[in-house]
């Protein structure tokens, strides 16, 4: 009997029934807002898939994304995905190190040529030849380019990989860029967030595994299922916004009443993410529920939007000196114009007087 290496067979060997696929399928369908009718297709697709080789590259990052993704090791529905993938290279998680680690990466690339998925967290510095971040003597840029050559798809995890994130924040000393700028034509999924919601990652990978294609993305390359709506649109505090009830600080009456945090700088209205519905830590809470406005961490350049506590409708940058300067210039121009007009009148008057004589 030929050894069956489908995921169904693997789980079966561990005594897990196909109900697990059904359950996982309904979970993925739910978080990705797929129609309930697609649950079985998803489950069947996953069951028939083979373990997916994943090469995880970490560049200019803080490991928060990995933390978010692997936060739980309990055998639960959320991390069944770890049974579906073969994490062939991840320098934080893998047991081996040094040359052996790099060897593992090369082996996986050779063995799964054209089929492996590259996951990237962290941005890539490209200034000065990319010298600001290197692993085993290879710059991040070089390693990314090498690894991408034979990849099937790329998943940029976290805002740094998706949009450059904090390393790219003004003044961007390392010339950090998003992965999207270096992928060439490879299919790319951005899972932004600082850190991203683990379910978004799970959902995107599962979709990729079951259907063999990339889920529908928004204009920033993010799965619409998770990034299709703003935090504000899905926020349970939205009714307070509509009724004009706001917290003016973090310890006032409004804050205690759980009013909308718009006035204290919440970026929910312009932030596309699923925090308000998926929430964090297994659905316990999310920043707004915990009393703090959204930072907008899943959006490009969120670090440079004038401050986390600056309300959305306020202008960015200091206005005072510019306006004072404008006022002085305006007054000068006004006086100049009036003097010129007066002179104009006088010269006209003079010519009139002459006319009289």
């Amino acid at each position: 009997m030929k050894h069956d290496d489908t995921l169904a067979a693997e789980l079966e060997r561990r005594g897990v029934s196909r109900r697990a696929f059904l359950k996982f399928g309904s979970y993925i369908a739910s978080i990705m807002a797929l129609p309930p009718s697609s649950v079985e297709a998803l489950a069947e697709g996953l069951a028939a898939a083979r373990r997916q080789s994943v090469i995880w590259l970490s560049f200019q990052e803080c490991t928060g994304c990995t933390e978010s993704f692997t936060r739980s090791f309990a055998p639960t529905i959320e991390n069944l995905i770890f049974d579906f993938i073969s994490l062939d290279y991840h320098h934080t998680l893998m047991a081996v190190s040094g040359e052996a680690a790099e060897e593992a990466r090369k082996e996986a690339m050779a063995a799964n040529k054209g089929k492996y998925i590259v996951v990237v967290d962290g941005s890539v510095p490209i200034k000065d030849g990319g010298v600001y971040s290197a692993i085993a003597g290879v710059t991040n840029k070089q390693m990314l380019e090498d690894t991408l050559k034979d990849a099937f798809a790329v998943v940029a995890v976290g805002t740094c990989a998706s949009f450059g994130g904090i390393p790219k924040a003004n003044p961007n000393p390392t010339g950090a860029v998003a992965v999207s700028e270096l992928v060439g034509g490879k299919p790319l999924i951005n899972i932004s967030g600082c850190p991203p919601i683990a379910e978004a990652m799970t959902g995107a990978l599962s979709y990729l595994l079951s259907f063999g294609k990339i889920p529908e993305l928004d204009h920033l390359g993010r799965p619409k299922a998770f990034f299709g709506e703003t935090i504000h649109d899905r926020c349970y505090r939205r009714p307070f916004y509509e009724r004009g009830l706001f917290a003016d600080g973090f310890d006032d009456h409004g804050a205690r009443q759980g009013y909308c945090l718009y006035k204290v700088g919440c970026k929910g209205p312009v932030t596309y993410n699923a925090c308000a519905t998926m929430k964090w830590n297994g659905g316990v809470s999310f920043p707004i529920q915990s009393g703090h406005g959204c930072l907008g961490c899943s959006e490009p350049n969120f670090w440079d939007q004038g401050g986390f506590y600056r309300p959305l409708p306020t202008p960015l940058g200091a206005m005072g000196p510019a306006l004072a300067g404008a006022a002085v210039a305006g007054a000068a121009l006004g006086v100049g114009a009036a003097l010129s007009a007066r002179r104009h009148q006088k010269t006209y008057l003079a010519s009139l007087e002459k006319e009289k004589e």
Partner: protein, 141 residues
Amino acid sequence: MTSACASTENLEPETGFADAIIWETLAKLTHFAASGEASTIDLGGLPMSNRDRAALDDLLGRGEVSATLDVIGRSEVWETQFAGVWRVRHHGAEGIATDLIEITVCPRILSADRRDAETAARRLAEALERKHGIAETAHET
């Protein structure tokens, strides 16, 4: 209770989602009764507060059947007091992962898969073999 978080919990508003979902359930149930066509309402992704969820549970109540599953974590399935309206709730690491209302004869997750049955038959045969020392081939299916 003076902490901001605690009082926020207490003040979670009721948004009216529960009522809306009951209306949808009624429509789907009527359709199911007439045509036999099953359907599902996914409660995930709806910005329901805990109060909304409690209100929904109250309205639907519990009927004759209830089951607990232990498949990659715990799941609960029960029929509401309205025949054909089932609740399917999968628990994840730290809470509810999937929460569904299924309008059907019996939720699919309760039924065994024939491919699993195939393996099960083999395992059962092996178990027998171990017990009686007799090699008995399972019936081909």
